[in-house]
């Protein structure tokens, strides 16, 4: 599983950071920063799906 994060769609809702802090951080202005490169560790796949499914701006996509 890979995460595709579109910074230009992100509006800083911070839902991903709250649901999956292992996968997303935020910058000084509150926009998301994707922390993983490449494959999502297996034990974090459910959190990755939650982050994607709760983004109001559809800025996160999961590629399986």
């Amino acid at each position: 599983m890979k995460i595709k994060y579109d910074r230009s769609a992100c509006q800083g809702h911070n839902r991903c950071y709250m649901l999956a802090p292992e996968l997303f951080d935020t910058d000084d202005e509150g926009y998301a920063l994707l922390l993983v490169e490449g494959d999502v560790p297996a034990d974090l796949e459910e959190k990755a799906r939650l982050a994607a499914d709760n983004c109001p701006e559809f800025a996160i996509e999961i590629e399986e």
């Binding site: 509006q11 709250m18 935020t26 509150g30 109001p56």
Partner: protein, 425 residues
């Protein structure tokens, strides 16, 4: 899953068409599809049923001649599309009024909420770092202490024999006021003054009586900003006094407008969210016990409160004519952005009209969509979470004293303003 049918979506309970105008000074509404009035008390009482009626009417965007022409989209996707089209839908007016705002372009009265691109991003960047999730974490102990003190007062009153306590007046309204006063380094005792400003702008739609300058929010803020310039600290007003745009200090109107925005938009919104969540819990003992016995459900429950009881409807002013989803929208007309209606759209949410406490997929838009996403969302969310955590810890059991005495605000911010509760001994 613990679900329930919201009492305020039960069409048998209220008839928005025939009840219209019975209890207000506003002209009666003849038909919610063609003559709606979002400031009418029946809209406040039955909004979800009205959105449902519009959404299923064959024309999911209602139009009313009121306020010089106002559109009411009700589907999530239409509300999202309008939120993102700032070329046609300007933010220079965000509260629907009879008159059109006197626009000091490019910032509008209260930047950045009333600013359009490109100035919007400049004005927004100045504020963002104060409201990032990590900056807001620093305010959590203040919020917690505030809630505990308010709760201690309520417990004392209960011990002294008061049987019924209005939780909107004694709890939910104070939390955001006190935190915002601290962030701005303004006296907490001025909360009543803030609330009067908020009432004039949000609930009277700015169309109330003309006040002498000395009684306006402009005068209040001008006086405080002038004094602060000579006594700078580490608060948000001091920060704005020292901020610049490409080397130029912010205009006085910019500083004042931004503080006005934080007071007006940051207080009765969160007050509403906390109040609506308490109103819900008062009627759902099964959700109270689940909150207490299953803490891992709390993050999902908080987002479901925000979805189900989203307090804020924004507005846009049409900057140019556009044919939007077959609706001929004209420059100078309003469109409402009822995010709470987007949150109840069954095409976007499964079981949209049910409160599902552990809803895991919840792309709600309680804080708006697009470039104007509520800048205070992290603060509001923290206040709601702390207010609920502290309340539920202190009062695992409570109920509405009398459902008929609960009063909901009218206008673009919807939440309980009178919320009398009873506490079992």
């Amino acid at each position: 899953m613990t679900d329930f049918q919201s009492p305020d979506t039960d069409p048998g309970r209220h008839d928005p068409i025939h009840d219209a105008g019975k209890s207000s000074g506003r002209p009666p509404v003849t038909d919610w599809l063609t003559d709606f009035d979002h400031q009418h008390p029946d809209y406040a009482a039955t909004a979800p049923a009205i959105w449902e009626q519009v959404r299923t009417s064959g024309c999911p965007i209602a139009y009313s001649k009121r306020y010089g022409g106002t559109w009411l989209p009700t589907r999530h996707d239409d509300i999202a599309a309008i939120s993102k089209d700032f070329e046609h839908f300007s933010s220079q007016g965000v509260v629907v009024t009879e008159y059109r705002p006197d626009i000091p372009a490019p910032m509008g009265y209260a930047p950045p909420i009333t600013s359009d691109p490109p100035f919007h991003q400049v004005a927004r960047s100045i504020l963002l770092k104060f409201f990032s999730p990590k900056a807001i974490e620093g305010w959590e102990p203040v919020a917690r202490e505030t809630c505990r003190r308010l709760i201690a007062d309520i417990q004392q009153r209960i011990t002294a024999g008061e049987a019924v306590i209005d939780c909107a007046q004694s709890y939910s309204q104070h939390v955001p006021v006190m935190i915002m006063a601290d962030m701005l380094s303004l006296p907490r005792e001025d909360g009543d003054i803030f609330r009067r400003f908020i009432h004039n702008v949000m609930e009277e739609g700015g169309g109330g009586e003309e006040l002498p300058y000395e009684e306006t929010i402009d005068f209040y803020l001008d006086s405080h900003v002038a004094a602060r310039r000579n006594d700078l600290g580490d608060d948000l007003i001091s920060y704005l006094c020292q901020a610049d745009i490409e080397g130029m200090a912010l205009l006085d109107e910019h500083v004042r407008g931004t503080i006005a925005l934080l007071i007006i938009a940051g207080i009765d919104t969160t007050w509403s969210a906390i109040g609506a969540s308490l109103w819900h819990m008062a009627q759902h003992p099964e959700h109270r016990s689940r909150w207490i016995n299953e803490p891992s459900v709390q993050p999902f429950a908080l987002e479901e409160f925000l979805r189900f009881y989203a307090p804020v409807t924004m507005a846009r002013l049409l900057a140019k004519d556009i044919e939007f989803e077959q609706c001929p929208m004209k420059a100078g007309e309003w469109t409402l952005l009822p995010f709470p209606a987007a949150n109840r759209d069954p095409a976007f949410f499964d079981q949209a009209d049910e409160f599902i406490m552990d809803r895991a997929r919840n792309r709600h838009s309680a804080f708006g969509l697009g470039i104007h996403r509520c800048i205070g969302s992290n603060l509001a969310r923290m206040e709601l979470r702390v207010a609920m955590e502290e309340w539920m810890r202190a009062f695992p059991d409570f109920e509405l004293a009398d459902p008929d005495t609960v009063a909901w605000s009218t206008g673009q911010v919807r939440g309980p303003r009178a919320l009398p509760m009873r506490f079992p001994a």
